[in-house]
Structure formats: structure tokens, C-alpha cells
């Protein structure tokens, strides 16, 4: 029983990180249809922001955390202005911004790779090591509650939903599509950067940390569905529990357990391709 409870806390914390990355994808996919695989590199930027502000400059944790999230909002906004908007305005096909963002993934990684020594960099815990999981869970829940309230209870949030449902109709209703797109990228970068910051005390800030997080977040998104905010969190939690329970209890050699979540994903795609939670009509 002790093992299971320890594992439940650990899996919930990992699931929250995956859920935040899935939320980053979702915030951009819903209104724009653009899959941005650079979210993993945004998480890496958040982790390196934590290293700079919290480790090197020793800022108080709340201040450093707020500064990292604010900086990531700006990074997301700038990414949209540089890599997405010019293509959309020129009427490029939908695949073009996805490819441009893949290019940005390399740009982000190389900037960090060239700016910092290659070793992993330590980022401090917000609380004691044994309480970090609870901190991750609490912060993530707060973010998801805020996101849910934003989409369900505010006019701006409803405008995101309107754009997601029908871009042209939303534009005809006076919704500023460019503003919604810029905000969705800023929010996506904020969520991804926060995920990177929260996980970095465990895995350290490292220039190659982005891709695994991007894959785990995308898997979580597929499981939960792109239709609703809470689906991202649900998908993240399911993925993390599948990973960790398999690694702990499945009667198969340890090396094979890594494939089980992917198997789980494939079965899921076959049985329920729209994800667990469908968008409201």
C-alpha cells in the first residue's frame, strides 16, 4: 500500500507536467488548428529561465516563477509574430506555420545549446524535495482552474471558443483573429514554460529536455482530446499513471515497459480517436 501511495503522488505530479504541456498544445490548436511541436523547447526555455533567475541570481521563488512565466508569454507572442502571422497573412497553406515552428524548435534549442555549457543545470525546489510533487500538483490545478474559468466565464475566453468553432464566422462577428492567435501562442508558451520550470528541479535544465516533454504532452493531448481544457489534464494523468504503474507492477522486463504507454496510445486512437472528452457542440 505504501508503494502504491508513493507512486500515486509521483504519477500525479508527472501527469500534471504532461497536462501542462498538453494544455500548451491545446491552447494553440483549438483556435488556430496549428500543432506547435516547439512546446517542448518552450518548456526547456522555462527551465533555463529558472536556472538563471533562481539558481544563478538567487531570486525568491515566487518572483522568479512569475518572471519566467511573464517572459514565456512574451516568447510565445514573439514566436507568433515571427513564424506564424507572416505566413497566415500571405495565405500560406496550413502546413507552412507547422513547418516554420519546427524550424523555431531548432532555433530555440541551438540558442540555449550555444549560450550555456552542455551539462545539465540545477534548478532549486520550491519546497523541500519530498513536497515538490505536491507543489507541482497544486500549481497545475490552479492553472487549469484559471484556464477553465477563462474559457467558460469570460468574453475573451468565449471568443477563443468561437474562433475554434468557426474562424470565418467568428471574424464576421467582429472577433479579432490576429489577437486571438497571438494570445493563444502567448498562453501556450506560458503553460509550457511553467511545465519546464516545475519539472526542472527533478530533471535539471538541459538543452535536450524538450523533445521527450513534447512527445509526452502530445500523447496526453491525444488521450484527453483537443476539445476541452480538462481533457489535457486528464490525458496527462492517465499517461503518467500508465507509465509508472507499468514500470512498477507489470510482469515484464524493465526494458519493455517503455513501450507500454505507446501501445496504450495506439489502442486508444483506434477505439476513441477523438480523445476522452469531446468538445461541446
Amino acid at each position: 500500500m505504501r508503494d502504491f501511495l508513493e507512486l500515486a503522488v509521483s504519477a500525479a505530479a508527472s501527469g500534471c507536467v504532461y497536462g501542462l504541456v498538453a494544455l500548451a498544445y491545446l491552447l494553440m490548436i483549438r483556435p488556430t488548428g496549428i500543432i506547435n511541436f516547439a512546446v517542448g523547447e518552450w518548456a526547456m526555455l522555462g527551465a533555463f529561465g529558472g536556472f538563471l533567475l533562481l539558481t544563478r541570481f538567487e531570486w525568491p521563488y515566487p518572483l522568479g516563477m512569475a518572471a519566467v512565466v511573464a517572459a514565456m508569454l512574451a516568447v510565445g507572442w514573439a514566436t507568433e509574430r515571427v513564424a506564424v502571422r507572416p505566413l497566415v497573412e500571405r495565405g500560406a497553406p496550413p502546413l507552412a506555420p507547422i513547418l516554420a515552428l519546427l524550424g523555431m524548435l531548432v532555433v530555440f534549442r541551438e540558442i540555449v545549446s550555444l549560450s550555456f555549457p552542455p551539462d545539465p543545470h540545477p534548478v532549486p525546489y520550491a519546497l523541500e524535495i519530498q513536497h515538490q510533487s505536491f507543489f507541482i500538483i497544486a500549481v497545475t490545478l490552479a492553472v487549469f482552474v484559471a484556464a477553465w474559468l477563462f474559457f467558460e466565464r469570460t468574453i475573451t475566453g468565449r471568443s477563443f471558443e468561437a474562433v475554434a468553432l468557426h474562424r470565418r464566422a467568428a471574424a464576421l462577428m467582429g472577433i479579432n483573429l490576429s489577437r486571438v492567435t497571438a494570445l493563444s501562442f502567448a498562453g501556450g508558451a506560458g503553460a509550457a514554460g511553467l511545465a519546464g520550470l516545475l519539472v526542472s528541479p527533478n530533471i535539471s535544465a538541459h538543452y535536450l529536455m524538450g523533445v521527450p516533454l513534447a512527445i509526452q504532452g502530445f500523447t496526453a493531448l491525444v488521450i484527453g482530446g483537443v476539445g476541452r481544457v480538462e481533457g489535457a489534464l486528464l490525458g496527462g494523468l492517465l499517461l503518467a499513471f500508465a507509465e509508472q504503474l507499468t514500470a512498477r507492477y507489470a510482469p515484464i522486463p524493465s526494458g519493455y515497459t517503455q513501450g507500454v504507454p505507446l501501445l496504450f496510445l495506439m489502442i486508444f486512437l483506434l477505439l476513441r480517436p477523438t480523445g476522452l472528452l469531446r468538445a461541446r457542440s
Binding site: 508513493e6 509521483s10 552542455p118 540545477p122 535536450l208 507509465e243 512498477r248 515497459t257
Partner: protein
């Protein structure tokens, strides 16, 4: 005006002639891939060594010219880079990225009969899979690491142990050698776990190890972030069995990223800070660069100084003569236990002395004293 032009032409000719006079050595390293944390400092040590050699007059009266390429530790582009370096006139190739990439380069160097050496790779199979007489390996083999760790562990009377590694190519290779070495010594492996790259926790794996109640745990992984996760879970669960690690934990980055987690962990190393050659190397490196070197710098430094010595003994930058000189070389460098020499007896091409490794222990967050040397 004519005099000036003539002088310029003569200067250009002289510069060209001098450029031709260099001895070109190819270096294939990893600047952006997974091996960058290891390849970069090792390559810095190599470049420092080349500069030192050139400052002292070079080899056979000629300067060494390094032709550096980046293979990102990718075997698929590594062989092409080896070919490129040979086409550019390299008489020797030094491989500084991952074992699989080095292996792939051998397909070219064997066919082109160009000497190649890796001073840092530890996979045992590099000199056994291909009958390439132009290839040498001087990094400490995985089998030597486990044998040294086991020799030290024998003093602890271990009966059942856990083994944990990661899913990188090298991590799996080392785990295989660790498992074989443990089983050969009659020590039972009661739990064997693998950390996937990109994991966010090691708790499931450490729970299984805790349940197996081992006398000790051996770490064969080479991914720093995943190793730190293992150490975190170990401390979080308050586990008490001792940890014995591969040389990966000899990289000083653990003193910062595993701060507060690593006290008492023993690790195998090829670097004895008390060795006179190490002290001289550290002092010279600090004076030249203003930075403190560590063990990885020593691998690169030993690599280039060994190659330079082979060329010197060959008497000419002739690949066949260099091959013969390299094979008969006996060389004392920075790396290894006190008194260790690299050599290639009986036609072998893995030159690290089986008794040349040491076991050290972390004292607090610092890499501490040598507690054991060799395999006896």
C-alpha cells in the same frame, strides 16, 4: 609597386608552403548531440594538447593542424565525415563522440587504411567486431570498469545486488558488461531496471529495487538527468544500501546537479588527482586557459599526445608507418592509476591497462579520495 607585389606574392607562397607543412589530424566530435557534455570538454583537452605540442615546436618539425568535424554522435553521418577528413589529407582520425558513431567511422578508416583512435569510448566491442588494424581504443573499457568496481566490492562481501541503467545505446552496452561481470563473480542480480530517456521520475524503478532488498546497487547509466533522478528517489525513500557507479558519475557536473544527494557513492574513474602527471596537466591547463580541467579533458589530452608520439616515432606522416608505431607504443599519460601505461600487447588494440582504473568516493558533494586501484 612591383616590389610590393613581389613581396606579397612571396609571402603568400611562403604561407602556402607553411600550410602544406602541417600534419593534419582529423577530429570527429559531438557539438550538439547527446554526447556533447562529454565530447566538448574532451575536445577542449585535445585542442589544448595540440596547442602545447605546437608551442614546443610541433612534431617532426611540423605543426599539427586539427580538422574538426561534428557528427552529432550520429552513426549515419559519422562515416561520411571520416571520408571527408581523409580526402582533406588527415593522416590520423581521433574519434570523440559516441561508441556507435566511432564504430561506423571504422568502415571508412579500415578501407582507406587510415589510422583512427578513440581516447574516450568505453564500449568493449569497438576492437572486436571489425578486424581493423588501423583502429585503437584507449578509453577504459566497460568490462574494466565493472571488474575494478567488483574487485572493490569483493571487499564488501556482496551476495545480491540491483543493477540500474538507462535506455541509451551506451547505457545498455555498459549494463550488459556489468551484468556479465556480476554473474561471473557469483553475485546474484536480484533486480534489473532501465530508466527511459526523458523520464520525470525514477520512483517506480527504485520501488522495485527496494522491494528486492539488495546488498548494493550498481549504476551503469550514462544519462546525467536520469542518473540524478535515481539518486533523488534513493534519498527520498531513505535507502541505505551502498551505490557503486560506472565512470559516468566521475564527471564533475554531479557535484552541482546532484548536490546533497551523492555523499558516499563510490564510482570508478580513470583519473587520480594525486598523480603527478595529473597535477602538472591541471596546472598547465589552468595557466593556458584560466579554467580548471577535469577527467574528460584528460582523455582528449592523452589522445592527441599519444598520436603525436606515434607520428614522432614513425619518423614521417606516413599512415603505414604511423600504424606500426602506434601498435608498438607504450605511453604514460594523464589518465589512469599511478604508474599506468597505455600499450597494445600481442596485437590487441584496446590499450587501457586493466589495472589502470581507480575507485573513488564522493565525500559530501565533492569527488573524494581514491579508495581502491586496479583489479587485484
Amino acid at each position: 609597386m612591383r616590389t610590393l607585389l613581389t613581396a606579397m606574392a612571396l609571402a603568400l607562397f611562403a604561407a602556402g608552403a607553411q600550410a602544406q607543412e602541417t600534419i593534419k589530424i582529423g577530429v570527429i566530435t559531438d557539438r550538439v548531440g547527446v554526447s556533447k557534455p562529454y565530447s566538448e570538454p574532451a575536445t577542449e583537452g585535445l585542442i589544448f594538447g595540440a596547442n602545447e605540442i605546437n608551442r614546443q615546436g610541433g612534431v617532426l618539425g611540423r605543426k599539427i593542424e586539427l580538422l574538426v568535424e561534428d557528427d552529432q554522435s550520429r552513426p549515419d553521418i559519422s562515416a561520411a565525415l571520416a571520408r571527408k577528413l581523409i580526402d582533406q589529407g588527415a593522416v590520423f582520425i581521433i574519434s570523440m563522440s559516441l561508441t556507435p558513431a566511432t564504430q561506423q567511422q571504422q568502415t571508412v578508416t579500415m578501407e582507406a587504411k587510415t589510422p583512427q583512435m578513440t581516447p574516450m569510448n568505453s564500449g568493449d566491442t569497438l576492437t572486436t567486431q571489425l578486424p581493423n588494424p588501423y583502429f585503437w581504443q584507449t578509453g577504459p573499457l566497460g568490462s574494466i570498469q565493472i571488474a575494478t568496481l567488483l574487485a572493490h566490492a569483493r571487499t564488501k562481501s556482496l551476495k545480491k545486488v540491483a543493477l540500474i541503467s538507462d535506455n541509451s545505446d551506451l547505457g545498455q552496452l555498459l549494463a550488459r558488461f556489468f551484468r556479465a561481470g556480476l554473474e561471473k563473480s557469483g553475485i546474484q542480480v536480484v533486480a534489473e531496471e532501465v530508466m527511459p530517456r526523458g523520464a520525470t521520475t525514477a520512483e517506480p524503478q527504485m520501488q522495485k529495487i527496494r522491494a528486492a532488498k539488495p546488498d548494493a546497487m550498481f549504476m551503469a547509466g550514462v544519462l546525467t538527468a536520469e542518473n540524478v533522478l535515481i539518486l533523488k528517489a534513493y534519498r527520498q525513500y531513505g535507502l541505505k544500501f551502498p551505490i557503486h557507479s560506472s565512470y559516468n558519475l566521475s564527471v564533475p557536473v554531479y557535484m552541482t546537479v546532484a548536490k546533497g544527494l551523492i555523499n558516499g557513492v563510490t564510482f570508478v574513474d580513470a583519473y587520480d588527482p594525486e598523480k603527478p602527471e595529473v597535477k602538472a596537466f591541471e596546472s598547465a591547463y589552468r595557466n593556458a586557459t584560466g579554467k580548471a580541467p577535469f577527467n574528460l579533458h584528460g582523455y582528449g589530452y592523452d589522445g592527441i599526445t599519444m598520436v603525436a608520439e606515434a607520428i614522432r616515432r614513425a619518423g614521417a606522416p606516413d599512415k603505414e608507418k604511423i600504424r606500426a608505431a602506434m601498435q608498438s607504443l607504450s605511453f604514460a599519460g594523464v589518465m589512469g592509476a599511478k604508474g599506468m601505461k597505455y600499450s597494445f600487447p600481442e596485437g590487441k588494440r584496446a590499450g587501457y591497462d586493466p589495472n589502470g582504473m581507480v575507485v573513488r568516493v564522493y565525500e559530501g558533494d565533492k569527488q573524494g579520495r581514491v579508495v581502491y586501484a586496479g583489479q587485484k
